[in-house]
């Protein structure tokens, strides 16, 4: 499986993501700088966390308009798997690859802690190694994770089973509507989530609940 990580000025969770992808896929991911107008052939593209462009204007807004994103959109149209984590989720919504928006946390504070996630949809390419209703541990670290969409969009993504992860057991850290922590695109090949599965993949992290997400994507690609 070939993976690729997209890098922006201000990305800072790219190293963790690269380490996770290397351990799980068996080879280091390709890295792609934001000025590129094409992206190399890969099975899974990841937009990592951080503070691209210092969160200027809106989180992810400037990164979403950079040249590499047009190339990534073409890969999305081809059905390639794309995962955005944290700032990556913000970038994917700003780029129009996922619906809705991530607003300032309702409590106004930067939140860095562990939350509980409930797997709402275990049928996606990213969650097939989980069980529906399973409760996961996962760290979050963000200031703008408050998911919002208008009621029509919300009804649509809820109705289509596109809410993949919800904050569970009263751990919603940011005021997200319907406790939404992660969603997929209409075709299911693009996923965005605020929590950091790449930070819970080996015993040294204190747990491995995030590992199955990458293993799911890997299996989907290998079966194809």
């Amino acid at each position: 499986m070939t993976t690729a990580v997209i890098l922006f000025p201000g990305s800072n969770r790219d190293r963790d993501m690269i380490a996770a992808l290397t351990k799980i896929s068996g080879r280091p991911p390709l890295t792609v700088w934001h000025t590129e107008t094409s992206v190399p052939d890969a099975d899974l593209y990841v937009v990592p966390g951080g503070f691209s462009y210092g969160d200027y204007l809106r989180s992810g807004a400037i990164a979403a308009r950079s040249p590499v994103m047009d190339a990534l959109k073409r890969r999305a149209d081809q059905g390639r798997l794309i995962l955005g984590v944290c700032n990556g989720f913000q970038i994917l919504t700003e780029a129009g690859l996922l619906p809705g928006v991530l607003m300032r946390n309702a409590g106004l504070k930067f939140v860095c802690r562990e939350v509980k996630l409930k797997v709402e949809n275990a049928g996606t390419a990213f969650t097939r190694h989980y069980q529906k209703g399973q409760i996961l541990r996962c760290p979050v670290a963000h200031h703008d994770g408050n998911y919002f969409a208008d009621s029509e969009t919300l009804d649509r993504i809820e109705g289509e089973g596109r809410v993949v992860f919800r904050y569970a057991e009263g751990t919603n850290p940011n005021g997200s509507i319907n406790d939404i922590a992660g969603i997929v695109s209409d075709k299911g090949n693009v996923m965005g989530m605020m929590p950091h599965p790449e930070n819970l993949i080996e015993a040294a992290h204190g747990g491995t609940d995030g590992r199955a997400l990458f293993e799911s994507a890997l299996e989907v690609v290998e079966a194809a």
Binding site: A61, R65, E94, G100, M103, R104, N105, A106, A149, G175
Partner: protein, 81 residues
């Protein structure tokens, strides 16, 4: 011609504005008892070269739709001096 414009971006009605709420609370703490609510927005002062005001306005509207505002949660207004 050089056009000077001001773009104002505000949150749509009904969208939660925790920053505005915090500012409102802080104003109350300073003794401004009459403050009912605060909504925080953004202002962009833009100078651009355009053939006329009409084409500048079209450009500015496109800028808002493509970058300056996230129309999921924000409205905008373009004002040309």
């Amino acid at each position: 011609m050089l056009i000077r414009a001001r773009v104002t971006v505000t949150l749509k009605n009904g969208v939660l504005d925790p920053q505005g709420k915090a500012i409102s609370g802080s104003l109350a703490a300073l003794g401004f008892a009459g403050v009912d609510s605060v909504r925080q927005g953004k202002v962009f002062d833009i100078e651009l070269n355009a053939v006329d005001k009409q084409s500048a306005e079209a450009d500015l509207t496109a800028m808002c739709d493509k970058l300056l505002a996230n129309t999921v949660i924000e409205d905008y207004a373009v004002e040309i001096a």
